[in-house]
């Protein structure tokens, strides 16, 4: 961990603790809660008990209320710092593979054999509308139908589209960069999907030929 990261985590933790100081018996309740948690779970398959250890961001997002603006900005800045552009500069893959990934909600549970990204789906339809044809979609996240079209992306390689392409890339890699405590999993940062898989999902959303933008 770099020195920069240590300092920013400390700042987030300090902000979290400062917020907690106002609650009576807060830390006593917290420690008995953590003890209860540790005593209640066991490792099973790939789902090991270290999954209960929270990073500073998760901790700030566990109060049941949105974090303060200061803490939110810190969480977002930390998240933004984790995002790397694609290794070959190509942001889009194959939208057909993207649709398959979007339909697939598998992976990372204790009944899954491997935690390798290749074993995982992107889970998208659980929370989002995406193509017009798929009526079995969730509503936890906003509709992504006509995603590229509505944002004026007619050619993803055009410099005019760069900001939107990069935002979309960032959002899929680490949604907390733009919305601290987002309900959306941090697909790149948490290694749920690999670079190629994220490119396929990018294509589903931004390729002008994708059914998302054509229909």
């Amino acid at each position: 961990m770099t020195r920069f990261h240590k300092i920013s985590l400390g700042a987030v933790a300090a902000a979290v603790l400062a917020g907690c100081a106002a609650l009576p018996a807060g830390s006593a309740l917290d420690s008995s809660f953590l003890a209860m948690l540790k005593g209640s779970f066991r490792s099973e398959g790939i789902a090991t008990v270290d999954r209960l250890d929270q990073d500073a961001g998760q901790q700030a997002c566990s109060t049941g209320q949105p974090p303060s603006e200061t803490v939110a900005k810190q969480v977002e800045a930390q998240a933004l710092a984790t995002i790397k552009p694609p290794s070959d500069g190509q942001y889009l893959g194959d939208w057909r593979e993207g649709e398959k990934l979007a339909q697939n909600g598998r992976g990372m549970t204790w009944t899954d054999k491997s935690s390798a990204p290749s074993a995982n789906g992107a889970n998208c339809y659980n929370c989002h509308q995406i193509t017009k044809a798929e009526i079995s979609f969730g509503t936890i996240g906003p509709s992504l139908y006509q995603y590229g079209k509505l944002r004026g992306v007619s050619d993803p390689k055009d410099p005019a589209a760069a900001a939107m392409v990069q935002y979309t890339w960032g959002k899929i890699n680490n949604a907390w960069a733009y919305n601290a405590c987002s309900n959306m999993p941090r697909f790149g940062h948490k290694q749920l999907l690999d670079e190629q898989q994220i490119k396929h999902v990018m294509a589903l959303l931004l390729d002008p030929k994708s059914p998302v933008n054509v229909q």
């Binding site: 789902a47 009526i135 079995s136």
Partner: protein
């Protein structure tokens, strides 16, 4: 447990599926309505009734090393009182000095009255061995409270503390997908795919959420108790494995059950 489905039902469901396929995007609202109609049709003869009957037998049957029935089991309203017991669980029990949910309390009774070993039942996978007994007992005992209103007590300090623990657990973000219970159940009027999600931060209404489990799940042909429902929630949350009747499961039940105060109990219910 096989379901008997009338040929007319099969024809109706096939017609519904064809209609949905043809209707495309405009059928989004009616797809959820269609599923609700499908459930209403199946509710005429809920397979849970078979589990209720089995559960009543198991309550009265002399079983275990002590060859005794469960008819002296105290579920919170006194030994052997079953009617109305389910809507006041989980609650604190003086004899064990703990807050216990239905399944935890059944383990206590199966131990003290019948001589079963709770650790063995805790280790047994769902759907096997004495876990099958737990499903049936849960079905019958909850059925004996059907139509009553959720009324968990919060008088004892331990009951209050477990509510707070459950609240903390409900909002605890963790695992590789940063999910908490609240990710899916912390807002109103949301759904995953076409499955509506109750907002469990407050009272989600009659026959919803805590008031609807145990339930018979048509899609897998299984009777799921609340412990099993919580187990699969944690699996989908990508958490590690919650112990059967562990404190976190009881705390969450207290949180949900207290929030549902006044809601009509419909368990054992019918689910997709």
């Amino acid at each position: 447990m096989p379901i008997t489905v009338r040929p007319s039902t099969i024809a109706w469901v096939a017609a519904l599926a064809a209609a949905l396929a043809a209707a495309g995007a405009s059928a989004q609202k009616s797809a959820a309505d269609g599923i609700a109609e499908y459930r209403a049709m199946l509710a005429d003869g809920n397979p849970a009734e078979l589990f209720e009957a089995k559960g009543e037998d198991l309550w009265k049957q002399k079983r275990g090393p002590k060859k005794a029935s469960l008819e002296r089991c105290d579920l919170g309203l006194g030994p052997g009182v079953v009617k109305g017991a389910w809507v006041q669980l989980p609650r604190w029990f003086a004899d064990t000095g703990r807050v216990q949910d239905l399944e935890s309390r059944l383990l206590t009774c199966m131990d003290t009255l019948q001589g079963f070993a709770p650790d063995q039942i805790i280790k047994t996978p769902f759907g096997q061995g004495e876990q099958v007994t737990m499903e049936a007992l849960s079905a019958w005992i909850s059925a004996e409270s059907r139509g009553l209103r959720m009324a968990l007590p919060q008088a004892h300090p331990e009951e209050k503390r477990m509510y707070q623990m459950g609240q903390k657990a409900f909002f605890y973000r963790g695992g590789p997908m940063d999910f908490a219970c609240s990710t899916c159940h912390g807002q109103a009027y949301k759904r995953i795919r076409l499955q509506d999600l109750p907002d469990l931060r407050g009272n989600p209404g009659d026959g919803v959420g805590f008031a609807a489990w145990p339930a018979y799940r048509v899609s897998s042909g299984e009777m799921w108790s609340m412990q099993r429902r919580l187990n699969d929630c944690f699996r989908q949350q990508r958490f590690p494995y919650p112990g059967y009747t562990s404190d976190v499961t009881i705390a969450l039940s207290v949180y949900m059950g207290v929030n549902a105060k006044g809601a009509e109990a419909i368990a054992p219910a019918l689910k997709r």
